[in-house]
Amino acid sequence: MAVLNIKVQEVFNEPACDKNQAKGEKERKKGCTKQLVPGAAAGGCAFDGAKIALQPIIDVAHIVHGPIACEGNGWDNRGSKSSGSLLYRTGFTTDISENDIIYGGEKRLYKAIREVIEKYDPPAVFVYQTCVTALIGDEIEAVCKAAKEKFNKPIIPINVPGFVGSKNLGNKLAGEALLDYVIGTEEPETTTPYDINIIGEYNLAGEMWQIKPLLDHLGIRVLACISGDARYHEVASSHRAKAAMMVCSKAMINVARKMEERYAIPFFEGSFYGISDTSDSLRQIAKLLVQRGAPEDLLSRTEILIRREEARAWERLNGYRKRFEGKRVLLITGGVKSWSVVSALQEVGLEIVGTSVKKSTDEDKERVKELMGEDAHMFDDLPPREMYKMLKEARADIMLSGGRSQFVALKAKMPWLDINQERHQAYAGYEGMVTLVQEIDKALYNPIWEQVRKDAPWQ
């Protein structure tokens, strides 16, 4: 546990994160998230966060060491897509019992690893620590080490008991585990001057596949995506990439920064949400690769592709301008990732009447003001009751948010669109923006609204 505490402190001190650096020494020690309030808390734990970050590695067996709750209540519930192995969707857990609590669960864990290797022969096994097994003192690092020697396979301990903190912290600890045990342990078969890593992208609803054709067209190879649709070998040999893109959220910033320090892989922070951000990200990738020695024509080829694809997207988007005239959107998201979406939505004629800035920095808030004007409604925390009132009073025509607030909108009989990680639609790149606009149109103009809002005849 002492080692874990050091790790947590280390993760809380992130030189590449401007929000983190703006804090004082003491405040930083407390970490990225506010102290949780019992009886008024929401959100996943550190284990949840680590699982989100690593489970997209498709050919690995992910074993959860703990009671049935941690895996049994939530397995196979995310939309990370695979182009190959489906092993990542198999739920493995030691499902520890009362006896294990009393006598310790290490032997059961070791046997579980053996069973999984005998039956499924994965290239690697990830073992996730949980609260109960941490509390009784099971040392998963030691078990993984013994298993690794015995079975001659990478067995990776992911030390993330839920009670150490939030989902975001779990993302980062997962990244630390990759840095400590996986990245740099294997070599790619070949390398090219066009090899990049994409960090913090989970291929939800297959979003990587909206980006990959663009990169393929430019001859850019994704050496490793960390971690969407990734193979273990790709992540293990990702240290040979020439450049990296860290996808929007700061969840895996530690991976990007430490890979730059250790392997001199430069990275930039970018996003594939929205048209201008997609173009900017492609430009940045090309620029970094050329700086690292790729032929210069990549820059002009990138510009040609961007021009062509932007035109193709706008051609399809412009048709919606008239239909969206005067329509108001309430946008509730994590924050940072939404700016380019906001500007694109505005460009097709939607009015953003309010947005949440819960996880945004001051700089982000300035950008909202720039985009939405001085009187923009920014909510730090919009309680469901207020959200409901706003929608019920028809101060917005549609709400875009995560699944958690879905029913607030639906029960107020207002259109709603899922833009969070549980969604089934892919919204990345140029294609994704077109899909998003199509989906908004589908929601706004669905014929049900008139009928469902009508009172019953006897009222």
Binding site: G39, A42, P67, W75, T90, I96, E115, V164, S166, R404
Partner: protein, 453 residues
């Protein structure tokens, strides 16, 4: 008669089981204006929330005491106290349900004592009923959490009275019943001029209705006063073996005697139920049920062609396994594989050779040459790999609409269930082809003779 065994594996693969506090929390969700709380880390609640939201497609009231590393070791009383005060202030519930988790049970806390102290310190909580249940994740399963919680609600709230409420009966539905099932049973009870107090009543809270106002607690269900009145009822009807615990608790506390109905799916089972209602009310079985019975008999006649001889693999919690397994067996199916989550006395009576307390990997291995797989939505991967159709039954059902409106009790519900499953058999019926009847590949005898000549 079946031999009940437990999987010996160290690693559970593709869990069938969900944890006890989930069952407990769901039972609390059948109380009106209630806020269920899990005493554990915030993740325990988050996973549960996602699970229920996906199944019910409803907002789910479920809070957490947000235990962290330090409070787990030092003890969670402060967190419980804060949680209760915060919930009382923000959500103003009529009752709070508190389920422990593996985390707090590992340290082992004296919640009973903690609550006493908290109540002493906070007179504002005096009128707020708080029911806590011990539901460690590392023991038992979802169904156990549900039945323990109902028993605990009764223990805390039900009171012995001298005044009987004429015509009132108690209905204790198991966790395997849907909102539609509960509605159907209530309708049957009411058809005899009786009224039912249902505990817990998911048909009031999670039946997917549109409330007039936003509320952070449950949207309906059994009220605290209704639970308090259960001691004045004529009788208790418990549906599913799991509910005997709660029914017994109620009888011991209030003297109201109970009958357990192991299932309400199937002809015999419903005959018995209706005759019991007839006896309690002194009224004959209404005409509509005589008609429905006849329809069910006809459905059994029409359906038995497609059920007969079919091999079925079922993975479900004990009471659901019992309901579905016995019905399918009565229609001529062979229960080739039965996997469940926790022990229950009726497992030994299952019409199959073995009942295994195991996971979906066990079910998949045993289902290889079956015609139908019956389990919750997580069976979808196995169904695809085996090329066997999946009939979704139980919780969670996250990849189909209307899980909580599926009816499978009563004559009518049984009839519809027979049609639904029968249609799956029909859709996947085997077509004969030229190579359907190959001869064995053994040595061709005349040819062998020709060679030796």
């Amino acid at each position: 008669m079946a031999i009940v065994s437990t999987s010996k594996k160290a690693c559970t693969v593709n869990p069938l089981k969900m944890s006890q506090p989930m069952g407990g929390a769901l039972a609390f969700m059948g109380l009106a204006n209630c806020m269920p709380v899990l005493h554990g880390s915030q993740g325990c609640t988050a996973f549960g929330l996602v699970l229920f939201v996906r199944h019910f497609r409803e907002a789910i009231p479920l809070q957490t005491t947000a235990m962290n590393e330090v409070t787990t070791i030092m003890g969670g009383m402060d967190n419980i106290e804060q949680a209760l005060l915060n919930i009382n202030k923000r959500a103003q519930p009529e009752i709070i349900g508190l389920c422990t988790t593996g985390l707090t049970e590992t340290r082992s806390e004296d919640i009973h004592g903690d609550l006493k102290l908290i109540r002493q310190r906070h007179p504002e909580l005096a009128k707020l009923p708080i029911v806590f249940v011990d539901t460690p994740d590392f023991k038992d399963a979802f169904q156990d959490g549900w039945s323990k919680t109902v028993a605990r609600i009764i223990e805390e709230l039900a009171t012995k009275t001298t005044e009987a409420i004429p015509g009132q009966v108690n209905l204790l539905p198991g966790s395997h019943l849907t909102a539609a099932d509960i509605e159907e049973i209530m309708e049957m009870i009411e058809a005899f001029g009786l009224t039912a107090v249902v505990l817990p009543d998911l048909s009031g809270s999670l039946d997917g209705h549109i409330p007039e106002q936003f509320t952070p607690t449950t949207l309906g269900g059994t009220t605290v006063d209704e639970v308090r009145s259960m001691g004045s009822s004529l009788a208790t009807l418990a549906i599913g073996q799991q509910m005997e615990r709660a029914a017994l608790e109620l009888e011991m506390r209030t003297g109201v005697s109970y009958t357990v109905f192991d299932r309400l799916t199937g002809l015999d089972a419903n005959d018995r139920f209706l005759m019991t209602l007839s006896g309690l009310s002194g009224r004959p079985v209404p005409l509509k049920y005589r008609r429905q019975r006849s329809q069910l008999v006809d459905a059994m006649l029409d359906g038995h062609f497609y059920f007969g001889g079919k091999k079925v693999a079922i993975g479900a919690e004990p009471d659901l396994l019992w309901s579905l397994g016995t019905l399918m067996s009565e229609l001529g199916c062979e229960i080739a594989a039965a996997v469940t989550t926790t022990y229950s006395p009726q497992l030994e009576k299952m019409p199959c050779a073995e009942v295994l307390i195991g996971d979906l990997e066990d079910l998949e291995l045993r289902a290889k040459d079956c015609d139908l797989l019956v389990t919750h939505s997580h069976g979808r991967q196995a169904s695809e790999r085996l090329g066997i159709p999946l009939f979704r039954a139980g919780l969670p059902c996250f990849d189909r609409l209307g899980a909580n409106h599926r009816l499978s009790v009563g004559y009518r519900g049984t009839r519809d269930l027979i049609f639904q499953i029968g249609n799956v058999f029909l859709e996947h019926s085997h077509e004969n082809a030229p190579d359907s009847w190959p001869l064995p590949e053994a040595n061709d005898e005349p040819a062998t003779q020709a060679q030796t000549v």
